[in-house]
Symmetry: C2
Subunit: 200 residues, 2 copies
DNA sequence: GTCTATATTCCGATAGAC
DNA sequence: GTCTATCGGAATATAGAC
């Protein structure tokens, strides 16, 4: 791997700092230091802090969402999809544990520009999933249910532990390695809770 | 109710602004405006922004946690406690929907001083709940389970929707009233998912 | 206790030399 | 393209009159 260009160094540094501290918490100086370059260069390559942030946010969303969407549209049973979804999500978050906090902070900071950008990255394949739920309900595989509840339950169980990670660690005394181990084991637990709740 | 004192006005205003915008997003001027007083008074009553924030954070935690702890130590079956816990939590959050975002943002902002303050407010009655789980497992009422998973699952399902509220609203088109209605209905759903997952 | 005015600090952004 | 130096604004905090 050759030496990264200045722009690449900036992007990597900005991602680290923004994901860690959010738009308001991050300092341009922090990003420059992390990248090992001068603060002025940030403005040379990206016009402003906001523009740099937007670039990072979009990048993060673009890696984050399509992978999950792909699972939802694959040719699998609903139960399989739930297991794959939980596994993929937790696997991904183990590598980027601060992203959930980052996302939650920013979508709650309005205006709605960022929300729109998320949905722009690619619309979630709700229709396909809803159709599948109807099919499997009719086939007697799962109980009648609100697709929305299923989605919200799944996301809640996968994402929330990362949001509450500092509290979990404070209460249990886990370090980060132990936390990741715990989440890996929890993956099966979560799938099971969800599947049990919808099995006919 | 008599006219609130200046200090009370400051506390009420600071709470509103801090809960809404977080420590970094809030401006002392915003708080002064909200309270209808001068900015200098904030420093007269509380020495600094940080100190004012700490006061608010502790207050919020002090109202937030004991109510839930009380349910966990009540003389009820585990199933009853789960239902009461979800109902109380969702009821409370309908009135203060920004508190979860506030808490999550701040506990992820280090240093750990704030986390310590939460646990200081009063230790969660883990021992009592764990003992009850063991008893009911032995009695054949519930499956053998990790108490930690039960707690995390319950909190996840109750809290996460408030954290993701902007996304939920963007995807479903709900307004706030509809969102609250949805959560009220969801309360039963959440209890059921949890109870189904532990019933023997 | 409350206000006005001002000091101080911090940070994003820019100018200009190289 | 990259740096140093600096501007300008915003926000916290303080001084001092009343």
């Amino acid at each position: 791997m050759q030496t990264p260009s200045t722009e690449e160094k900036i992007l990597a540094a900005a991602r680290k700092i923004f994901v860690d501290k959010g738009l308001e918490g991050a300092r341009m100086q922090d990003i420059a230091d992390e990248a090992g370059i001068n603060k002025a260069m940030l403005h040379y390559y990206f016009r402003s802090k906001e523009k740099l942030f937007d670039t990072i946010f979009t990048d993060v969303a673009k890696e984050f969402l399509p992978k999950l969407f792909a699972i939802l549209t694959a040719d699998k049973t609903l139960f399989e999809k739930i297991e794959l979804f939980c596994a993929a999500y937790i696997e991904h978050e183990t590598k980027t544990p601060y992203v959930p906090v980052f996302i939650i902070k920013e979508i709650n900071r309005g205006p709605k520009a960022l929300m729109q950008r998320i949905t722009q990255v690619g619309s979630p394949p709700f229709d396909a999933v809803i159709a599948q739920i109807k099919r499997e309900t009719k086939a007697g595989i799962i109980k009648p249910l609100e697709p929305f509840d299923l989605l919200l339950n799944t996301l809640s169980l996968c994402i929330f532990p990362y949001l509450a990670k500092p509290m979990v660690q404070a209460v249990t005394g886990m370090n980060t390695v132990q936390f990741n181990d715990m989440m890996k084991k929890r993956c099966a637990t979560v799938s099971k809770v969800i599947i049990d709740s919808i099995k006919a």
